[in-house]
């Protein structure tokens, strides 16, 4: 038989579906210890015993088949559509042994759709700590299924699960509950109107349209002899269904599960009492943040300097080792400094991802959600918005996709609109280099001023997000109501492998993603900076030698003057000076202006762009930092990067909407150009204003 078996992984959020998916397929999809990590369908292949292959689909978590958010709807639409190419031959319902009761609700629903279903009880390693024991044969009998007791962490039960999947034909499809018990009369009518259809599926289709207004399904109404009920009545029936299901589950678990509270070590309650405390909770959060930023500084300065000087040597070596010519200078003055401007940030980026990943995996991030929930509501956001806001510290794009689990459209829209204020990893390089130039190195109570400035910038970004959310909440006229409870996952020791993988993956994505762009940009910039129109550019040597004829300059000094004169009159210099009037009030020169424009492609190319421009415009080799420190303000004299211009630049980057990819994602998620364009105009306009005020006040 050559046909692959379609296997869908379904389950409540945070039960370990993606961990099971990774264990089955050998892939490395993102796993994290809070609900709502997976928001899209992901696919992979798994080899089963006897040469059979399975096509595994990882799905977003859903609490029940009565979906109310976009990501949950993915699951229901798949299960209701037999013609979907991914329609599962067998559903693997993943549950978490600590929340079995709640998890079984979904399982019974899937069973009632008469899809062959296997129950995976995951996190079996936790049973010992929680004093849980299970009577598996009893559960299998009651639920009419096969159960795999799995721990993806200890790699237990995966072989058994594969075996069960390959024998999926033996699974019983008897439902757990008779759907007509919900309301006999109504279901009798349903059966008469649609004699050939599965009753429970009909019921789901109907309720789905009630819960989720976007399904475009009117066939039910179209059948004239069937009178459907009012929305309120249907909602009431849904509640009745849930109660019936829990009765069934309680009965099943009464004998199938025993919990010995004496052996349960409840570290969780004790920890939660401190970590979500009204005062201490915030203090601890604050201390953790400070530690992170201090560590980013302390741990990465050595590797950073090392990389910086290695690139200088590489550049020198290229220049001296290769035959002289245009391509050699493209390499030595364009590409190598440009790439260097990205690579020197690898240590910091890796540390940042390391901390984020540990906080996520340990379950602490969800406590932060809880801590903030009360405050967030005041700003028109729900507790769920904090997940995008926090994961936005890595990158706004996955963060904006993560908003799909916010049911309420208004809250979702607001979250999408304000998330780009969160300090993403692409801003980090700009912050780090500018801070190291303009903020003194001293310490106060063991905390560096530089680290504190960095933290302040993160807080400013977060504050900007909250304030704009509050304003949007007032302005946007969208009716909506909220009903959200934060689900608290359990504390877990972060899995070393998961943490390392996340750090490597994200750092790789950062370096290669940004690397490709800076490579292209540095080539283009080098070209524009090395060629120019007219006599000014082409006769630079003559012009300089006549100008300085009576000054007795050394040959080196002459070359230096020629290089910078050429740069000023190159294509790039001409463009730069055309935009200079717009940015001079902020304290920037035309070179920074070019870097600002090129960082619309991606913020992190700012430093690489400057490195390329400076390197074309000068004759000797220097590290990026020293070059920036040595730049002179063309108008005022003195260093270009002063406290005033530095702060102005930092604030500009904190607020400006400088990321085309984010705009594209916002367009996709809101399905309209209105929002991304507004975002661009308002954020960047505001950034300009603030940077202007800052420079004018501080200069």
């Amino acid at each position: 038989m050559s046909k692959q078996i379609n296997v869908a992984l379904i389950g409540n959020p945070n039960t370990g579906k993606t961990s099971v998916f990774n264990a089955l397929t050998g892939l490395n999809q993102k796993v994290g210890n809070y609900p709502g990590i997976t928001v899209e369908k992901k696919e992979g292949i798994c080899k089963l015993p006897r040469g059979v292959k399975a096509h595994i689909i990882d799905l977003p978590g859903t609490y029940s088949l009565n979906a109310s958010s976009l990501d949950e709807n993915v699951v229901i639409e798949l299960l209701l559509n037999k013609n979907d190419k991914d329609f599962p031959d067998v559903a693997v319902v993943v549950s978490d042994v600590e929340n079995l009761k709640r998890n079984l609700l979904l399982f019974t629903q899937i069973k009632d759709l008469e899809i062959p279903a296997i129950l995976v009880i995951n996190m079996a390693d936790r049973m010992r700590y929680k004093g849980i024991s299970l009577d598996i044969p009893h559960l299998e009998e009651q639920l009419n299924t096969k159960i795999a007791l799995v721990s993806t962490r200890k790699k237990n039960g995966i072989v058994e699960l594969k075996e069960l999947i390959s024998n999926y034909k033996d699974l019983s499809t008897t439902p757990c509950m008779n759907a007509s018990e919900i309301d006999r009369e109504y279901f009798d009518n349903l059966r008469k109107a649609f004699p050939n259809q599965l009753l429970y599926k009909l019921w789901l289709v109907i309720t789905q349209d009630v819960n989720f207004g976007k399904t475009d399904r009117n066939e039910i109404d179209a059948v004239a002899n069937f009178k459907t009920k009012t929305k309120a009545d249907l909602k009431r029936l849904q509640q009745k269904e849930t109660i019936k299901r829990y009765q069934f589950i309680n009965n099943t678990l009464k004998k199938g599960q025993t919990i010995d509270l004496n052996t349960a070590k409840d570290l969780r309650i004790k920890l939660d009492r401190i970590l979500t405390h009204k005062v201490w909770g915030y203090v601890i959060f604050f201390v953790i943040l400070l530690t992170i930023f201090q560590a980013i500084y302390d741990w990465s300065s050595v590797p950073m300097d090392f990389i910086d000087s290695s690139f200088v040597s590489l550049s020198e070596w290229t220049k001296n080792g290769l035959p002289e010519g245009a391509f050699t200078s493209l390499l030595a003055e364009g590409i190598i400094p440009g790439l260097g401007g990205i690579v020197i940030f690898i240590p910091q980026i890796a540390f940042l991802f390391l901390f984020i990943s540990v906080l996520e995996e340990s379950g602490y991030m969800s406590r932060v959600v809880f801590l903030m929930d009360r405050g967030m509501r005041r700003f028109g956001l729900s507790g769920k918005s904090i997940v995008p806001l926090i994961s936005g510290t890595a990158c706004a794009i996955p963060a904006i996709m993560a908003t799909r689990n916010i049911e309420n459209w208004k809250e979702r829209l607001i979250t999408i609109l304000v998330t780009p204020f969160t300090t993403c990893s692409a801003r980090l390089p700009v912050y780090l280099i500018i801070i190291s130039l303009v903020i003194p190195e001293g310490r106060f109570l063991g905390l560096g001023y530089q680290a504190m400035t960095l933290m302040l910038l993160y807080l400013i970004g977060f504050g900007a997000a909250l304030v704009s959310a509050m304003i949007l909440n007032k302005i946007l006229k969208i009716k909506s109501k909220t009903f959200f409870v934060v689900e608290m996952p359990n504390y877990k020791l972060p899995l070393f492998k998961n943490v390392v993988l996340t750090v490597i993956e994200k750092t790789k994505a950062f370096v290669f993603g940004a690397g490709k762009i800076i490579l292209a940009i540095s080539i283009i910039l080098w070209f524009l900076a090395s060629y120019g129109p007219g006599d000014d550019f082409n006769k630079a040597e003559e012009i300089i030698s006549t100008e300085y004829a009576n000054q007795n300059l050394t040959e080196d000094e002459v070359n230096e003057h020629v290089a910078s004169y050429k740069l000023e009159h190159s294509f790039l210099g001409i463009t730069g000076r055309a935009i200079e009037p717009a940015i001079r009030p902020l304290g920037y020169d035309w070179k920074i202006g070019i870097a600002l424009v090129s960082s619309f492609a991606a913020r992190e190319v700012f430093v690489g762009t400057l490195a390329t421009i400076y390197s074309v415009g000068s004759d000797d080799e220097e590290t990026i930092k020293n070059r920036m420190a040595g730049e002179v303000n063309p108008i005022l004299g003195g260093p270009l990067f002063t406290f005033a211009s530095g702060i102005s630049l930092l604030l500009f980057y904190a607020f400006a909407m400088q990321c085309m990819s984010t705009l594209a994602i916002v367009q996709r998620e809101t399905n309209s150009w209105k929002w991304p364009i507004l975002q661009l105009v308002i954020m960047s306009g505001f950034a300009y204003l603030i940077a202007l005020i800052a420079f004018q006040l501080l200069k």
């Binding site: 035959p323 010519g325 993603g513």
Partner: protein, 46 residues
């Protein structure tokens, strides 16, 4: 001679760079990703 080769190389590099940037930022609707390709969630960020 050498100079001509170097110039040709420069223009090839320039052509590649420009076409890369155009491809990257011409707005096409991103397709849903599959885990088959080892595309990372953060792939579109840069």
């Amino acid at each position: 001679m050498n100079e001509i080769i170097q110039t040709i190389l420069v223009f090839i590099a320039l052509g590649l760079a420009v076409s890369f940037m155009i491809k990257k930022f011409s707005w096409k609707k991103p397709k849903t990703k599959k885990a088959f390709s080892d595309a990372h969630d953060c792939d579109k960020c840069h």
